[in-house]
């Protein structure tokens, strides 16, 4: 049998290997007949032969996935081992990659693991140093790293996804990677001297590293297993290790030996007072908190607070502010609010003497063209605002609380109930006020003309009943 020598590019020459294997295996050239060399120049196959790929081999996915990892390994035998794998798979052992106990497969998996670990360690242990300014005044950083395997091309995209906003270079003995804010490029090997030998934050970092170490837990074996010594000389913080270890025993001894002091007086008064003092003690204080808080769903212009006198007989709770409310910062000023005003008038209720608020304090919407379309708040959002609503109602102390629609009902009672069934007097749990449920006025606006009139009459009727309930409560 003729012996073949195949020379691939130095490093991880996946393309070269692919071309070669696609020719070798179909031609029936067994692994024993091939010598693989990674390095320098061209192949001993005629150039033309090598660059022209054979037809793709149909390999099981697990095999195809294994090859690129193993190719990155620094072991000179890697191509020969992969050749044996592909040869056996093509020879009928289609499930070979699943037999992890097979000595060849086992070895390849170990190689893949070693490559994956090296990648992970490069992502973890690479340290950038500030290296002056980049193009257009951007910051520039540089790092020196010595990977165990040929992983630079595989490792670099992690850094461009993480650090797009400054320029950086990673130099290794095998090659270099560069990022200029737009593209990742690869170049020739670098030298350690090309990276600045200091950085303004390194000392602070080393201090941090030292301070976060707990001498009472010293466990050098565990440290070395995760951070092998070969990486230490490029980790600025590693310089602190010998000192930390030397001092550990003494520090622990001192802590343990120091006689415990006499127990101090442990009066919780101050802490408890501070906790009590943080509770908002008025509606204004609560409103100040709500106003200053971030909307749970971003987008709203401002929080829309409740309006009306403290001690109002009736409080109305709507769903959430709409477009108009968000603009004006006041509840029930949009079309639904106007309809509510009209209905209140017809029911003989003075809007000025009721308290109007919403279960959710911020407008949630979706932009469609130029319009901001109201979106129903989710149960989680409602629950998030519930604390505020409960505190708010406690300050207002109404006799009757009217839930306008299902969301308000959910906020007040914690339950999802269809309004059609719940409509009328209701209990919202153990509360100092009576409850009442009706539809939200915006529901009326969405009905077709015919149905709207009837529903409106029913709505006014509900309001009247709520007013009667309030009158009863006042009398009681």
């Amino acid at each position: 049998m003729r012996a073949h020598t195949i020379r691939l590019q130095a490093g991880a020459d996946l393309a070269g290997f692919r071309v070669a294997i696609r020719r070798l295996v179909p031609a029936g050239i067994p692994p024993e007949a091939v010598t693989w060399i990674d390095g320098e120049a061209a192949s001993l196959f005629a150039e033309a032969e090598l660059t022209e790929p054979g037809p793709a081999l149909a390999l099981p996915r697990a095999v195809a996935a294994l090859i690129p990892s193993v190719v990155m390994h620094r072991d000179p035998e890697r191509y020969a081992l992969l050749h044996r794998l592909v040869w056996r798979v093509a020879g009928g052992e289609r499930h070979l990659a699943e037999v992890a106990s097979d000595p060849l497969v086992h070895r390849l998996y170990l190689m893949r693991k070693s490559v994956a670990r090296d990648l992970h360690k490069m992502h973890a242990f690479l340290r950038f140093r500030r290296a002056g300014a980049g193009a257009g005044g951007r910051e520039r950083f540089a790092a020196w790293f010595e990977p165990e395997h040929h992983i630079l091309a595989e490792a670099a995209p992690f850094f461009s996804a993480r650090f797009p906003s400054f320029d950086w270079s990673i130099l290794t003995p095998d090659g270099s990677a560069h990022w200029d804010g737009r593209a990742l490029t690869f170049g020739p090997p670098g030298r350690r001297e090309d990276v600045p030998d200091a950085d303004a934050f390194e000392a602070g970092w080393t201090d941090y590293y030292s301070s976060t170490f707990n001498p009472a837990r010293t466990n050098l074996a565990a440290m070395r297993a995760e951070m092998p010594k070969k990486y230490w000389h490029n980790l600025p913080e590693a310089a602190a290790i010998p000192g930390l270890v030397r001092e550990a025993g003494r520090r622990v001894g001192e802590m343990i030996a120091r006689a415990p002091e006499a127990p101090m007086k442990r009066v919780p008064a101050r802490a408890l007072a501070a906790m009590a003092a943080q509770e908002p003690d008025s509606l204004e204080a609560l409103n100040a908190i709500i106003r200053a808080s971030e909307p749970l769903v971003p987008g709203a212009t401002q929080a829309v607070l409740g309006e009306g006198p403290l001690g109002a007989d009736i409080a109305f709770v709507g769903e959430q502010p709409g477009d108009q409310e968000d603009v004006h910062g006041r509840p029930f000023v949009g079309p639904a609010g106007q309809l509510l005003s009209r209905a209140l008038r017809e029911a003989g209720i003075d809007r000025e003497r009721t308290y109007l608020t919403n279960a959710v304090k911020h407008f949630k919407f979706e932009v469609r063209g130029k319009r901001r379309i109201h979106q129903k708040p989710g149960a989680g959002e409602v629950a998030h605002y519930r604390w505020w609503l409960e505190r708010e109602l406690a300050f207002v102390a109404p006799r009757v609380v009217v839930a306008l629609g299902a969301t308000a009902m959910l906020a007040l009672s914690g339950r999802q109930v269809p309004i059609t069934r719940a409509r009328g007097p209701a209990s919202f749990g153990d509360k100092p006020y009576r409850g009442f449920v009706t539809v939200h006025p915006s529901y009326l606006l969405r009905l077709p003309d015919g149905a709207r009139e009837d529903a409106y009459v029913g709505f006014v009727d509900d309001l009247r009943r709520a007013a009667t309930l309030a009158a009863e409560a006042r009398a009681a």
Partner: protein, 403 residues
């Protein structure tokens, strides 16, 4: 980096080092946007290891170590004589961003002593996270340790910016809390956890971004008389009820200037290690809390053998297990076989018959596994019945301490 800032960093990192809950895993994968900074990989990255073998993944600091409270186990309690310091919001932001840019860290784990009031403190924590996200387009990992005494709406605001939230339980029982942390209220802590669990779940359903890496907690081991069994049962309940992602056990370390009601001794590291193993068995090996409890001796896990081996020694009648035939669930019970080894065995035996050599290639725990399994060319001879089996498999007392 100026000296004043460096000094603060030393004090406030030192004060934070007793909190074990600082892994950076669990956030969905993210990349920085143009002009932004930071990404998450899903798996978490440890950027360094200190000589205690624990990783440095996040910048783990306190906003301040001044505290109104007086929890006996805590170095920052108000009656302690430690040096105090306080960062400004901007200082924490600067440190995080500058350390991040140099690839020292995966993000920030921020906690704080309670100053002025729990709400005030919580607001400051939130401001740090919000500034990082909004002003710096920071997409790295943020873990906030919330202040359970703060108002619920504030604790929940934290979920808008943080990847993970933790509410530390610290002590497994109400009684211990009462004795060692007089101002703390165990019921309030659990209520806060419950609410947080609900919000996280709802947000997931509603596809909102809210603490995507979930919540975790820390329990201190060895500061009170709780048994391992009670710790395990508390954990099981927390995982179940509140959907916690992780429970961290932290062996109580002697702290400088310790309060006198606490044990002054080396931290029970081996016990902590066994608790993690037991926790692991429940999360990945289909062990129930009762199984684990059944492997304890008057409520305590053995220190010389791992809990799975302890369980197997107690249940010898269930072994040996045939690697070529047994179902996955039972293979998972074999000491020395991890989840990955079991999955490889199950995949491989579909196409090959496994001998002992084959198994040896799939696990590093063959020594422990041998007495409990059968392979094509191997069956343990009475090994499972030997009285001295435990002694033969026990680890030599591991010097987990200094040198």
């Amino acid at each position: 980096m100026d000296d004043a800032l460096k000094k603060k960093l030393t004090v406030l990192a030192d004060a934070a080092k007793y909190d074990a809950s600082c892994a950076s895993s669990g956030a969905p994968k993210r990349k920085a946007e143009a002009g932004g900074l930071g990404s998450t990989t899903g798996a978490g990255i440890c950027h360094a290891y200190t000589p205690d073998g624990r990783c440095v993944s996040l910048l783990k600091i306190l906003l301040t170590n001044y505290c109104l409270f007086d929890c006996a186990y805590c170095v920052n309690r108000r009656s302690s004589n430690v040096r105090r310091a306080k960062f400004s919001v901007d200082e924490v932001v600067t440190l995080t961003v500058e350390f991040y840019k140099r690839n020292y860290i995966e993000g920030l784990f921020l906690s704080s002593g309670i100053i002025r009031s729990p709400d005030h403190t919580m607001e400051q924590l939130i401001r740090v996270a919000k500034t990082l996200r909004q002003r710096h387009g920071f997409r790295g990992y943020i873990h906030l340790k919330t202040i359970p005494e703060a108002s619920p709406w504030l604790i929940e605001q934290a979920g808008l910016y943080a990847d993970r939230l933790s509410i530390n339980l610290e002590l497994p029982t109400e009684a211990s809390l009462e004795r060692l942390a007089p101002e703390k209220d165990g019921a309030a802590i659990q209520t806060a956890m419950g609410q947080m669990g609900e919000r996280i779940l709802q947000a997931k359903e509603e596809k909102r971004r809210f603490a995507p890496a979930g919540q975790s907690t820390q329990v201190i081991v060895g500061a009170d008389a709780s048994t391992d069994e009670s710790l395990i049962r508390t954990s099981a309940r927390l995982y179940d009820h509140y959907g916690l992602k992780r429970i961290y056990y932290s062996a109580f370390s002697p702290i400088p200037d310790a309060a006198s009601i606490l044990p002054s001794q080396s931290p029970p590291l081996q016990r902590e290690h066994r608790l993690y193993q037991a926790d692991w068995l429940m999360r990945y090996y289909e062990f129930s809390p009762d199984d684990v409890a059944g492997a304890t001796e008057s409520g305590m896990l053995a220190l010389d053998v791992d809990p799975k081996l302890a369980w197997a020694l107690r249940n010898r009648d269930r072994f040996p297990v045939d690697v070529n035939r047994a179902d996955r669930e039972m293979l998972l019970r074999v000491p020395g076989l991890g989840v990955r080894a079991v999955d490889k065995i199950v995949a491989a035996r579909r196409h090959a018959t496994l001998r002992l050599d084959d198994v040896a290639r799939l696990t590093s725990g063959l020594k422990r596994a041998r007495p409990f399994l059968i392979a094509a060319d191997y069956a343990p001879t009475r090994l499972t019945d030997r009285l001295d089996l435990r002694a033969r498999l026990a680890e030599p007392p591991r010097q987990l301490s200094l040198f």
